[in-house]
Amino acid sequence: MSRFSDPRWSEALAHLPDYLGNHVRVSVTALALGLLVSLPLAVLSRNRPVMRGALLGLASIVQTVPGLALLALFYPLLLALAELSLAWFGFGFSAFGFLPAVLALALYSMLPVLRNTITGLQGVDPAILEAAQGVGMTPRQSLFMVELPLALPVMMAGIRTAAVWVIGTATLSTPIGQTSLGNYIFAGLQTQNWVFVLFGCLAAAVLALAVDQLLALIEIGLRERSRLRVAVGGIGIAVLVAATLVPSMMRLQSSYIVGAKTFAEQYVLSALIAQRLRAAGLSASSREGLGSNVIFDALASDDIDVYVDYSGTLWANQFHHGDIKPREELLGELKATLARQKITLFGELGFENAYALVMPRKRAGELGIHSIADLASHAGPMSMAADYEFFSRPEWAGLQKAYGLTFRTQRQMQPDFMYAAVASGEVDVIAGYTSDGLIAKYDLVVLDDPKHAIPPYDAIVLLAPKRADDQALRAALSPLLGKIDIAAMREANLRAAGGDGAASPDAVARGLWEKIAKR
């Protein structure tokens, strides 16, 4: 069997029109906006050294901010702006997806354009500038007839650099809700689907190269006064943009959007929900790989319609409660809090995905560790690993306080890798997730939490404010409530993360439904 007959290739291909279209649209818009801002600024600053220095400095600083962080920063910023605008002018706008991605990417594109335009304009021979003045050109005519045409090759080189950067960085706009080729990469990394990761990287690289070559054609055409080349390059770009606009025109605007965070279980659950909606005759699409800070706000502002969160996460992270309450009480209070934001807590799926301290069963037995309290006396020389957010979450502070835990080292890891790390003895303890199938696979043990320092993490379905009274949605989703037990979810997660060729989130979700539908 050839590697290319792997069903994941055809699945990846099926997503291409949507992902590529969105990717091109956000990149082209960002690049156009970047040019629209940078070019006049560069022209204005060419004879103003102070302004020039300030602009280039600012653009360089923006460039040093990691792309992911820059994109993520724009989301809360725009959210605040949207609220202000709603309060002051009576209209809001969606701070989700397209807009923050475009703004951040446009900002990112500015440095090469500014730098090359300024360099290009400064590189024009002063004798030529004087000649332009001498034959009777106004400063404006000199700029458009002489300086810009002469600076064009250098400017185009900058525009090409910017285009490649923007297309590459646009893959990072997935977590703020903009569909892009990054969807392949984020989904692939979370579900160990290397075909997807590879496909996403290749698609982004091919797109960047294609755009770069079309721009190169325009550049050469401009330099050699070849209208044909300029026309071919221009038409190529236009065709690319047009081709990606067509699928979006055909997309149904009324469809339900199901959100998913950036881990395998979420991909499976969003696929399950989308399947149930389609089975009920509703159109549904997924918005996957959203950051956990982004997804709740996106639901609250009606940018997505439904997603699955966890009670303890909302309790501690979203509403900043320091105390921990018994399960039922916490759910009740959460429901009331959410209702104040017009968000519906539709119900529990039936399992918990809690943080838990996890270690190899054998080692725990040898040391006589059954609970976190037992662990505390052994923790001093031990090392611990957790995902990127755990150590800054209130649960960790709560655990430390309750049990007096201190480890020799704390490491942050990609969640998929930490189970293997603890199984191989690379680290001694990890903060795992109770619904993760890898716990069974690696023969690990979940330590008890006798002091209830970690809150309950019931998986709960949340509905956006605008869907509060949507009976069709409720009818389609109610068969899921209370049906998914921890064993079923663990098994599904194990399959989804297993790197098995047939185990796309969609396929896993179908299997999960078959199992629970009969209950």
Binding site: A127, V135, G136, M137, L150
Partner: protein, 267 residues
């Protein structure tokens, strides 16, 4: 007074440049008064730093004077729009100053285009000018400046300066970078054009021999001051030692040439 005002007149003109941080300002042009008569070809001779190029640029306001008064055809240059002024004065730049991204035809037609001349008219004007500066129309029209020889470039530069039918032409060391033969041919050709078109020309040069051979009158500058002006014959009566020094070279060249190339030879 019934006589028409001179095409170009400098009266007590001064210009100084900021000498950079902390340095004293440099007096580039120091109290210069000079009239250029209609139909005259005046050469301004001086070494580098003598202020001759600055003086030329003051005339079409590429540089603004600090003091004194400059008039073009009787009007103070400060009272006319600088851009309009430049469009009616031809200017030939050192080593051409052609726009590298424009064809020969576009370079020559630039000032008419700026003046709003219809495209068809510009085309025929360009051909006329190519004939005038003795460049083959078909062969040169669509070339880019870098495809031309130095002499051809300078011919295009002259054609461009003449495109909008100016009465006055300013030339900044126009033939300085050319080889002697090309330089000689171009000088003669320009002299003929100057006569034929009834131009008033001011030409900057550092070469006294060239000035004497081409110009009706020669003005000598040094360190921003005008030392002497007049026909070559008048100059040789000047009491100024620097002027004498400048005249010695062409004289010695002439004497040696007379000895080395006896009359009656085949050339």
């Amino acid at each position: 007074m019934t006589a028409a005002p001179p095409p170009i007149a400098f009266a007590h003109v001064g210009k100084s440049f900021d000498g950079g941080r902390g340095a004293k300002p440099v007096l580039a042009v120091n109290d210069v008064s000079l009239d250029v008569a209609e139909g005259e070809l005046l050469a301004i001779v001086g070494g580098s730093g003598s202020g001759k190029t600055t003086l030329l640029r003051l005339a079409n306001r590429l540089i603004e004077a600090d003091s004194g008064r400059i008039t073009i055809e009787g009007a103070d240059v400060r009272t006319v729009d600088a851009v309009q002024l430049r469009r009616r004065i031809g200017y030939v730049f050192q080593s051409g100053g052609l726009f590298p991204h424009m064809s020969v035809a576009d370079n020559i037609g630039i000032t008419p285009k700026l003046l709003g001349m219809p495209a068809a008219e510009i085309l025929s004007r360009v051909d006329e000018l190519l004939d005038l500066v003795r460049l083959d129309r078909a062969q040169h029209r669509n070339r880019l400046p870098h495809e031309l020889s130095g002499g051809q470039r300078q011919r295009v530069g002259v054609a461009r300066a003449l495109a909008a039918r100016p009465k006055i032409v300013l030339m900044d060391e126009p033939f300085g970078a050319l080889d002697p033969l090309t330089r000689d041919a171009l000088g003669d050709d320009y002299r003929a054009l100057h006569k034929k078109l009834g131009l008033t020309t001011v030409m900057i040069t550092h070469d006294m021999t060239e000035a004497i051979l081409l110009a009706d009158r020669v003005a000598v500058m040094r360190a921003g001051r005008l030392l002497a002006q007049g026909t070559p014959a008048e100059l040789s009566n000047s009491g100024d030692p620097y002027v004498h020094e400048l005249l010695r070279t062409p004289r010695r060249q002439a004497e040696r040439l007379n000895v080395l190339l006896p009359r009656g030879g085949p050339a």
